[in-house]
């Protein structure tokens, strides 16, 4: 499944990385502590978080994540947008709360477990 399909299915809004929406998503990770995401996120994961700080972009880049989804309609900070654009990191926004969004991603076939 690629990001474009997920964006379409769940009505996500694309803030940055429009040109990278064909990126394949292999799983998901949810977390708001960046230290935890650095430790446990896996390449091609879609990351669900409420953190809007610019460091999120560096974490996504460093870990090779497929993209970031901000929950509860949170908007990225101006610096975050700028860095995500510069690094072509996909930044998405969902109006849904995290629990609901993760449930719907799981229903689409994404898992938080890799075997």
């Amino acid at each position: 499944m690629n990001l474009k399909e997920i964006v379409h299915n769940l009505g996500l809004e694309v803030r940055t990385g429009q040109s990278a929406l064909m990126t394949e998503v292999r799983g998901g990770y949810a977390g708001d502590l960046l230290s935890d995401v650095l430790a446990h996120g896996q390449p091609a994961d879609l990351w669900v978080t409420l953190q809007t700080h610019p460091n999120t972009v560096a974490v996504a880049s460093l870990k090779g994540l497929a993209g970031i989804v901000l929950v509860n309609g949170r908007e990225p900070e101006a610096d975050t947008l700028q860095r995500a654009e510069a690094e072509n990191v996909v930044l998405l926004v969902s109006a849904l709360p995290a629990f609901e969004l993760v449930g719907r991603l799981h229903a689409l076939g994404l898992s938080g477990m890799r075997t």
Partner: protein, 236 residues
């Protein structure tokens, strides 16, 4: 002169601190532990600083007024201020950006005391909460008021710059980072490192401290030492 400073001490104003942490007790214990400087840093409030400063008159111990400010990412940042005016302005900014009311049964009492350790009033704000300010905005606010910004207990798994944001954000103009353990933290080498107790109970005061080479026991001088200006420095 060489001064021993514990730059992170709570009082009974912090809901999570002991009731025994009255301003005079904090001062007395600080002196007994051989400290020359303490900074009173309660969560998102500075309402016990004045009492501590008064309690320290003639005590041979300098009290720096500060606050442990919680950013919206739930990062704890110490702001240490050079005078009462700056401290009051910082407190105003924090209060404007802090929502909610304290539930003493759940979070603990928030006691404002005088220099004799008598309760003057209860602070009703949710001091344990997070402000709406980003960590960058917290540091900028502290610096605009001439204060020192120190990322608190960066080597802890909760409420620390590194736990919340993974690494020190590029361009964040900290004066220092504070650590609890002996091991050096994963921060840029040019950042000064201080050790403080983060005392919430009297027996913890001075359990960790930092030695500074300064001319006087003041926040300005400590700021110079953190930035290694004119011979002032942190002693290892």
């Amino acid at each position: 002169m060489e001064v021993r400073a514990d730059l992170h001490i709570h009082t009974c104003l912090s809901p999570c601190a002991d009731r025994d942490m009255s301003p005079p007790t904090v001062v007395r214990r600080g002196r007994e532990r051989g400290l020359h400087v303490i900074a009173v840093c309660d969560h998102n409030s500075a309402e016990n600083v004045e009492a501590a400063i008064r309690a320290a008159e003639d005590a041979g111990l300098a009290v720096i007024g500060g606050m442990e400010i919680t950013s919206r990412e739930e990062v704890h940042v110490l702001g240490l201020f050079k005078d009462d005016r700056a401290l009051q302005s910082a407190q105003e900014v924090v209060y404007e950006n802090l929502r909610g009311e304290n539930e003493p049964q759940v979070f603990g009492e928030q006691l404002v005391m005088n220099e004799r350790g008598e309760v003057v009033r209860h602070n009703g704000r949710l001091l344990i909460g997070a402000t709406g300010l980003s960590v960058e905005e917290v540091v900028q606010t502290i610096h605009r008021l001439g204060g020192l910004a120190i990322a608190a207990h960066v080597d802890r798994p909760r409420f620390s710059l590194l736990s919340q944001l993974g690494f020190v954000p590029a361009g964040l103009d900290l004066d220092a980072v504070e650590v609890c353990a002996e091991a050096p933290p994963a921060v840029p080498k040019d950042l000064a490192v201080v050790r403080s107790s983060d005392a919430h109970r009297p027996e913890e005061i001075g359990a960790r401290y930092t030695r500074f080479l300064v001319e006087r026991p003041t926040a300005s001088e400590i700021g110079m030492a953190l930035r290694r200006i004119e011979g002032r420095r942190v002693l290892t």
